[in-house]
């Protein structure tokens, strides 16, 4: 068959070209329509199939169960909850627990991953080999095994609550978790919090002013020292001025376990440690490759301008590396959040855990799964959106 645009086509070929099914636009539209019909048709068929099967088997459907009493207890909760609360509350408890793990995990893994990634590029042989060993070890062991490993270590090696390790006054480590004192609530504490937030705002303003001054006069401003001074100093000053109100709430062995103070449970600790160590091994490689991708000439040029090592890294190399690092880093943030669903295996009550229990008690798996899917989709899209906004901000802008 002659191709369109070829010279010297025969009359028959020309007439077949004009046939409607040989028109590329029409063919494109035709296949698109077929595709849409197939997709919509299969979704409708599957939905109809599911609904009729549920009806025939007399399985309840709908989200009515959300306002029924949940009846099961959840060991870790950031908000008020007991078994008399509804399934909706139980889901909220699970969601907040997921946020807690994902949020802490992302921050800690970013810090650890960046440090390891930089360490891998160190000129110190031992340090770079240790970092390499770290990456190869943790990246190649399945996360689920790592979680079991950390959890087993925590509850097998740590002593029972009655012989808890006692490294510092008021701090206890046992197989029930890490217990530590927290200041008991006092009316003056809110002023300390106010001072803390004022210090943060002041730091932002100071940083803005410092940059302006450097742009006009060339004088750098020691913003890190000033920020540390403000953020630590101001609350401490307020604490001293309001009369040193500090009553520690100490953990105490009462009956079976410790009461008072605050605690990190072995489940949360094992999950966090596992997620952070595992994800950091990937992040380290991303950071390393990002830094390596910045041409060595940039470092040399910065050196020629008289900048020292730390400043070269901070002002020249990292800002350029960041542009390369952000997109793969975003996908690691998403991975960490999604991997937090492995919490079920070691008994940390995250969203999936609550949904599993709900599905089992009510038998409504489709509803439970759709709640999980919608939630993780929303979380993932939000992380992705935020990171894309950040990426757009730091991207190289053509002028």
């Amino acid at each position: 068959m002659a191709t369109s645009g070829a010279t010297g086509r025969s009359a028959t070929a020309r007439s077949s070209d004009s046939k409607i099914w040989n028109n590329p636009t029409v063919r494109g539209v035709f296949w698109q329509i077929v595709m849409v019909v197939v997709v919509v048709g299969s979704v409708a068929y599957l939905a109809n199939n599911a609904i009729s099967n549920l009806e025939r088997q007399h399985i309840a459907s709908g989200f009515g169960f959300l306002s029924r009493e949940a009846g099961f207890d959840i060991s870790e909760k950031l908000i008020d909850y007991d078994p008399s609360y509804t399934y909706r509350d139980a889901f909220l408890v699970g969601l907040l627990n997921t946020f807690e793990v994902a949020g802490l995990g992302i921050v800690l893994a970013t810090i650890l991953g960046t440090l390891i990634g930089i360490a891998r590029l160190s000129k110190n042989w031992l340090l770079s080999r240790l970092a390499q060993f770290y990456v190869e070890l943790w990246r190649n062991i399945p996360l689920l095994l790592q979680l079991f490993f950390w959890y087993a270590i925590l509850h097998v090696t740590a002593p029972g609550p009655r012989d808890a390790w006692h490294p510092l006054p008021g701090v206890f480590l046992s197989n029930r978790g890490l217990m530590f004192p927290v200041p008991s609530a006092d009316p003056t504490h809110k002023y300390i919090w106010i001072a803390f937030f004022v210090a943060i705002i002041a730091t932002v303003l100071l940083d803005w002013w410092g940059r302006k001054r450097q742009e006009t006069t060339g004088q750098p401003f020691p913003i890190i020292g000033a920020a540390a001074g403000l953020i630590i100093g101001l609350p401490v000053l307020v604490f001293l001025l309001t009369g040193l109100h500090l009553q520690p709430d100490l953990p105490e062995l009462k009956g079976f376990n410790f009461a008072g103070g605050a605690s990190f449970s072995p489940e949360l600790t094992a999950l966090l440690v596992g997620l952070v160590i595992y994800t950091a091994s990937y992040m380290a490689e991303i950071v390393r490759s990002g830094i390596l991708a910045v041409s060595h000439g940039q470092t040399e040029a910065a050196g020629a301008l008289g900048l020292r090592g730390g400043l070269i890294l901070r002002l020249v190399v990292l800002p350029q590396a960041l542009r390369i690092i952000i997109p793969p880093m975003t996908s690691q943030y998403l991975n960490l959040t999604k991997n937090s669903t492995l919490a079920v295996a070691i008994g940390f009550p995250d969203l999936v855990f609550v949904a599993n229990t709900q599905m089992n008690q009510t038998g409504q798996a489709i509803e439970g799964i759709s709640i999980i899917m919608a939630t993780y989709l929303a979380i993932s899209l939000s992380i992705s959106l935020l990171m894309n906004i950040y990426n757009a901000r730091i991207a190289l802008k053509g002028r």
Partner: protein
């Protein structure tokens, strides 16, 4: 594009397969030549695979009875180990034909989950296992205790109810895998472990390094009638499952065992003749071979034999018959007349 089309066709095919599954369970089992049975991941006495992968236990024998009734052999079974949260979805979706996995018969499970429970194969109650060195003598002393429990069980709900009703403070540790939750208890992560008392007895015997270091507290905080279950919507298969269990009870009541069942074929008792298929009728009514009950007793034994070898006097668990004795000897086990 091609790949998307292929996967669309694939999902369509899956949908068709799922709806075909909803047909006659019995025909399906006969054409496959195998009964798919959802069982426990490992509870001594009820459902436990040994080192060679061979399953034994009371729930396993119930499955074998149903398989023998339908297919004539206790070996034509595919066992699917299921965790507590997996089990009902597996049955609803047709992944297993029958769930024989120490499951408590409750109202919501029948009304909301679309299941039908067969006769109770074990009357149980929920208890607590604690370390002797804790010096706890009663469940009432457990306020503030950390309790290990599996999720998605009636046990989890009863536990919350019991602590609420007695105004005690509860710290649950809820882990899905049986092995993991037991490890957590024995390593001291929890002060107490709660499940059905038969399960506690099995755990203590098989998993504790020194079983004598642990005691089961006297309180039973719930009724746990354990029974096999099938999907709603297939009455014939439900009948077969029910009467396979009743056959085990009927045989014990009539003194028919796997040893003497061949002599019993010559019995003059019309009840026994009907039961063993010497007088035909029962098999046809159920859509089975006339020798279905004979086959069950010959290859699996009667309920008493099953009880003794799995959880009773010939097993490491050494549980008393108690409520699980026949109605003729003071227990609750009772079969309607097979006529």
């Amino acid at each position: 594009m091609k790949r998307i089309l292929a996967s669309a066709v694939f999902t369509l095919a899956l949908g068709v397969a799922a709806s075909a599954e909803a047909g006659q369970t019995l025909d399906n089992i006969k054409s496959k030549g195998v009964l798919t049975c959802g069982v426990n991941e490992g509870t001594a006495g009820f459902g436990l695979a040994d080192s060679t992968g061979k399953y034994t236990g009371l729930d396993i024998d119930v499955c074998k009875a149903v398989a023998t009734a339908i297919l004539g052999s206790p070996d034509k079974i595919k066992f699917v180990p299921l965790s507590a949260p997996q089990r009902f979805t597996a049955l609803q979706s047709g992944e297993v034909d029958i769930l024989s996995r120490n499951t408590t018969w409750t109202l919501t499970r029948e009304a909301d989950l679309g299941l039908l429970f067969g006769p109770v194969t074990f009357y149980d109650g929920q208890g607590f296992l604690v370390k002797k060195s804790l010096n706890v003598k009663s469940a009432k002393q457990l306020s503030g205790a950390t309790v290990c429990v599996q999720p998605g069980t009636t046990t989890e709900l009863n536990l919350a109810d019991y602590f609420r009703a007695n105004k005690m403070e509860l710290k649950p540790v809820v882990i899905e895998k049986l092995d993991e939750v037991e490890n957590a208890f024995f390593s001291g992560r929890c002060d107490a472990y709660t499940t059905d008392s038969s399960g506690l007895a099995g755990t203590r015997v098989t998993k504790a390094q020194k079983p004598d270091d642990y005691i089961i507290l006297p309180e039973l905080i719930s009724k746990e009638p354990l029974a096999p279950a099938v999907r709603q919507g297939d009455d014939q298969f439900y009948d077969i499952m029910r009467w396979s269990v009743f056959a085990l009870l009927q045989a014990e009541e009539k003194g028919i065992t796997s040893q003497n069942v061949d002599q019993m074929l010559k019995s003059e008792d019309p009840d026994i003749k009907r039961f063993l298929g010497v007088t035909p009728g029962n098999g046809k009514a159920l859509g089975l071979d006339e020798k279905w009950a004979y086959n069950i007793i010959k290859s699996v034994g009667n309920y008493g034999e099953i009880f003794d070898r799995n959880v009773g006097k010939n097993s490491p668990l050494k549980l008393e018959r108690g409520l699980n004795d026949l109605w003729t000897t003071g227990g609750l086990m009772y079969a309607p007349p097979p006529r």
